[in-house]
């Protein structure tokens, strides 16, 4: 078998049955990374020797577990003691973490072989990887287009089979949007489900780690392993983790509605003038698929959806301005080499100059927007107003989930856009998250599933549909999504790289 043309679960089983060794599998992926990374720029840092050593330990029986020998990539904002953790920023270019993120550690405790760190928008701020200090990653389906973002290195790597599975992080859509436009499953679990310890902070009340995979079964397995309360993250939720979360073909618990699966649809996501025809077609196909399986379709109202983006860009930037204050040129990260003036302003100058050199344009823009929104005289008008709007958005979902089990909607309005198309217009870039951002604000779960293709100039460009589920309802959400996936072949398509 070719270990790179398979799914995580299949490869795990093949290694367990010794049909292929962990070292063979790891070498096969490392060879593909060598062959394609110059073109795709999917990996920012490779952990080649480390990965091969881990694989050998699996083959020698020294490392075991549910993921024994499976090569996995992690996003560049997840701390690991091996290599550098740069958040794709000049600020952290040489940063070597003294600890490993809990979520990554849990994968390694189950025998995963970590291949390296994937490229991303700097500090996870963006929707295209064009904000990376290390260059844009490319979409394997069309190299002139972005792989989405901010977890775009992750999706570029996965779509090109440079890893068997990969992790992303999602603050406003940064797992689901890139997964949708590269033909992959991208899952953002409920806020607090997976520890954020060792995830470099962007917006702490929104950030969540999640998997990017070819299938829902793979995503469910990784989620089950990563979930759980962590003493090192006080915001991680103390909610029991179902031992059968990985079993996406299992029974769907009978809903409050009396046994029949209820799929919610909301007009706010279905404006045909806003959505690409391929997105509308994919949504309709998925809806028909559920209907044909006997699901009841319920119209739900999410009237505050249109306030999601403006609300998000206050909440997220306010939190980012506070979180990124730690980069001061003193404790770790970039320090300017400019001489400091010998006066009382020396330390201010050192910090301001180090930060000006270390951060890119978008990061600076967001820090200033957040600082402004929190500053004296504007706090109530911006930050407090946004927090109240956030409550209204969460309330929309609470009401909707009284009537349905999951909400079906598009993940994005269209397929991948061309590199450079939105790079000079911050606001146009922000609109990428219009269908994903409200789930982060409400703290609930969302998964994007491959749902077909748009055809543009002879290129097949993937689109996705999203299923949104209630807080801590991951097991049921993934099973509901599986009812669609198992009737389709979209997830099997590969870009031919």
């Amino acid at each position: 078998m070719d270990p790179t043309q398979t799914t995580l679960t299949e490869l795990r089983d093949a290694i367990a049955s010794k049909a292929v060794s962990a070292e063979e599998a790891t070498r096969a992926y490392l060879d593909r990374i060598d062959a394609h990374n110059d073109t795709l720029n999917a990996f920012r840092d490779r952990m080649t020797d480390y990965a091969l050593e881990r694989a050998k330990q699996v083959d020698e029986g020294k490392v075991t577990g549910k993921l024994a020998g499976v090569p996995i990539a992690i996003k560049d904002c997840m701390c690991h003691t091996e290599g550098t953790t740069a958040c794709s920023s000049k600020m952290l270019e040489h940063y070597r973490s003294p600890f490993t993120a809990t979520a990554v550690q849990k994968l390694e405790d189950e025998g995963a072989v970590i291949l390296g760190k994937t490229n991303m928008d700097e500090f996870a701020m963006g929707s295209s990887t064009e904000n990376s200090a290390f260059g844009v990653s490319r979409n394997p389906w069309d190299l002139d287009r972005v792989p989405g973002g901010s977890s775009g290195g992750t999706t570029s790597a996965m779509a090109a089979d440079l890893a068997a599975a990969a992790l992303g992080s999602d603050t406003g859509g940064s797992i689901r949007q890139p997964a949708a436009i590269t033909g992959l499953v991208g899952f953002k679990p409920t806020y607090g489900r997976i520890s954020r310890h060792g995830l470099v902070a962007f917006a702490s009340s929104l950030d969540q780690i999640g998997p990017v995979t070819h299938t829902l079964a793979d995503a469910a397995l990784l989620t089950e392993i990563m979930c759980g309360k962590d003493p090192l993250d006080s915001t991680s939720a103390d909610v029991p983790v179902e031992a059968d979360m990985h079993d996406v073909d299992g029974e769907i618990d009978p809903s409050a509605g009396g046994g029949k699966l209820r799929i919610g649809i909301a007009s706010q996501y279905l404006d045909e003038s806003a959505n690409h025809p391929a997105v509308t077609a994919a949504f309709n196909e998925a809806l028909e698929c559920y209907k044909s399986q006997g699901a009841q379709v319920v119209e739900v109202d999410l009237p505050h959806t249109e306030y999601g983006i403006p609300c998000y860009y206050i909440v997220a930037t306010a939190e980012c301005s506070s979180n990124l204050a730690r980069y001061d040129g003193v404790h770790y990260g970039h320090r300017t080499s400019e001489p400091t003036p010998k006066d009382a302003n020396a330390i201010q100058h050192l910090m301001s100059q180090s930060r000006a050199e270390g951060f890119g344009d978008e990061v600076k823009r967001r820090i200033m927007l957040g600082t402004y929104a929190l500053s004296s005289g504007y706090y109530d008008a911006y930050y407090n107003r946004a927090l109240k709007t956030r409550r209204l958005i969460a309330g929309d979902f609470n009401t909707a989930f009284e009537k349905c089990d999951a909400i079906l909607c598009p993940t994005t309005t269209g397929p991948a856009f061309k590199i450079g198309d939105k790079a000079d217009d911050p606001l146009a870039m922000y609109m990428n998250d219009i269908y994903t951002v409200t789930t982060n604000l409400a703290g609930i779960a969302g998964v994007s599933v491959p749902a077909g293709f748009a055809s543009e100039n002879g290129k097949q460009l993937p689109v996705g549909v999203q299923l949104i589920g209630n807080a801590f309802d991951e097991k049921r959400l993934l099973r509901i999504a599986r009812r669609y996936e198992r009737e389709t072949e979209h997830w099997k398509s590969r870009p031919g790289i």
Partner: protein, 103 residues
């Protein structure tokens, strides 16, 4: 609600609070871009939010305390390995006070 347009003075002030050195060109550019973004954010003013409880966090958690017990921490040398400059077990910064010593 303040005026939607952010001024260059506001941007310089935000940059100062953010500890970001900006040149004049950058101040012009950020003023335009932030004005554009804030203009869009005015959309939030359409909503009646009287009496709505602010939602700073997705989970309803308060004051989570751990047991007051000593646990192993990170090794000082490992942590300081990332410092731009150090002296012994300390982070090193340029002289903070002027030559006169008064501040």
């Amino acid at each position: 609600m303040p005026q939607p347009t952010i001024s260059e003075t506001d941007v310089r002030h935000a940059a100062k609070l953010s500890r970001l050195s900006l040149n004049d060109d950058q101040v012009h550019q950020y003023t335009d871009q932030l004005a554009n973004i804030l203009d869009y954010i005015q959309k939030l003013n359409e909503l009646d939010i009287d009496g709505v409880e602010p939602m700073p966090h997705a989970l309803d958690q308060h004051n989570i305390l751990r047991e007051d017990r000593e646990t192993p921490g990170l090794d000082t040398d490992d942590v300081l390995a990332n410092a731009p400059d150090r002296e012994g077990p300390f982070f090193k910064v340029p002289k903070v006070l002027g030559d006169g010593g008064g501040a």
